[in-house]
Assembly symmetry: C2
Homo-oligomer: 216 residues x 2
Amino acid sequence: MKIGILGATGPAGRGLAARLADVGHDVLFGSREASKAERVVAELRSEWGERVANLHPMDNSGASDAPVVILAVTADAAIPTAKAHAHELAGKVVVSMANNLVRNGKEFNAVLPPHGSVAAEMQALLWESKVVTAFHLVPAAEFGELGHEMESDVVVLGDDDDARATLMEIVRSIRHLRAFDGGSLLNAVGMETFAAVLLTINVRHKGRASMRLTGI
Amino acid sequence: MKIGILGATGPAGRGLAARLADVGHDVLFGSREASKAERVVAELRSEWGERVANLHPMDNSGASDAPVVILAVTADAAIPTAKAHAHELAGKVVVSMANNLVRNGKEFNAVLPPHGSVAAEMQALLWESKVVTAFHLVPAAEFGELGHEMESDVVVLGDDDDARATLMEIVRSIRHLRAFDGGSLLNAVGMETFAAVLLTINVRHKGRASMRLTGI
């Protein structure tokens, strides 16, 4: 599948891009500066060779030219980036994966925007796009470790049934990742705030927790 | 440990009470009507015999007379019950385990009170108690199936360090349950809204999901 990634040079973006290219997707690797995208893709190629041959470096506008576009920018940049590319993203499936978290002492807390979650906020802004959301609980570094199989379960949410099904298919194209349908964007608050809990557990129990569902 | 349960005759309460008695706690089994508590304890004794010898039926006021009191009433009764027993609960560790969820078509959504979660709302109301919260993701029926080992991971939250440690100890007294420290009550929203996601997954994937953390 042809998949665009905005902010692909960031910690979550570069790993996810490499992982998606490795399993056969055609990845438009976007950054604010095309030159930065080229530099990071060159790094990934020197590390993973032919496995990431399907990474195509370009600017974020270029990377918006795909039926599915993932916003992999940091949480504080998610809404501004969506706004900057709103027209290019019209009619497309747009994937939000940001958790807007702050660290307060020995815990992380979620900061929720007026619509209740980053994903719902993005859908309100991108009213001509189909916003879906996933990957909230996957440690960013795990995507990029192509030598290791991923182990998380991924919950996918969105208001549009077809868009949700498309994202679930993408998730399942990554070996060992299971995709579960968690409902509409009303429930995105559940993933973004649970991410704060999970990171707090990591701090307090000194680990790197992933979530698995049993009994299903 | 001596543990009071308010609303112990309900679906979550009766199972949790039986489970706690089975692992050796002294359980004050409370209900609005002492006679109902007696009837349900008699049912549990006929089913589990000596394993639940430590269940003591009484009314909710009587069951408030313990250092740790669990509110196992349904979500819509959680705040009114806390209010009705506020004076008796002063100075005690009070455990909220309610998720205030509604079913909308093929999904569940969380309905959050003004303070952001049922647990935070309860702490605001019970300002002389130490409110902690846990058990959000454990299927209610699992508690009562004493013939089966439980399998969930349980996240414990609360603003008071000692109260949180006490509840973690209670969780760990149940064989195979692992307890994780998820931080303050600010993060209770994460557990209550993730519960809506988990129940939605159960509806859409036809299962009874529990949550396990890996990598920790």
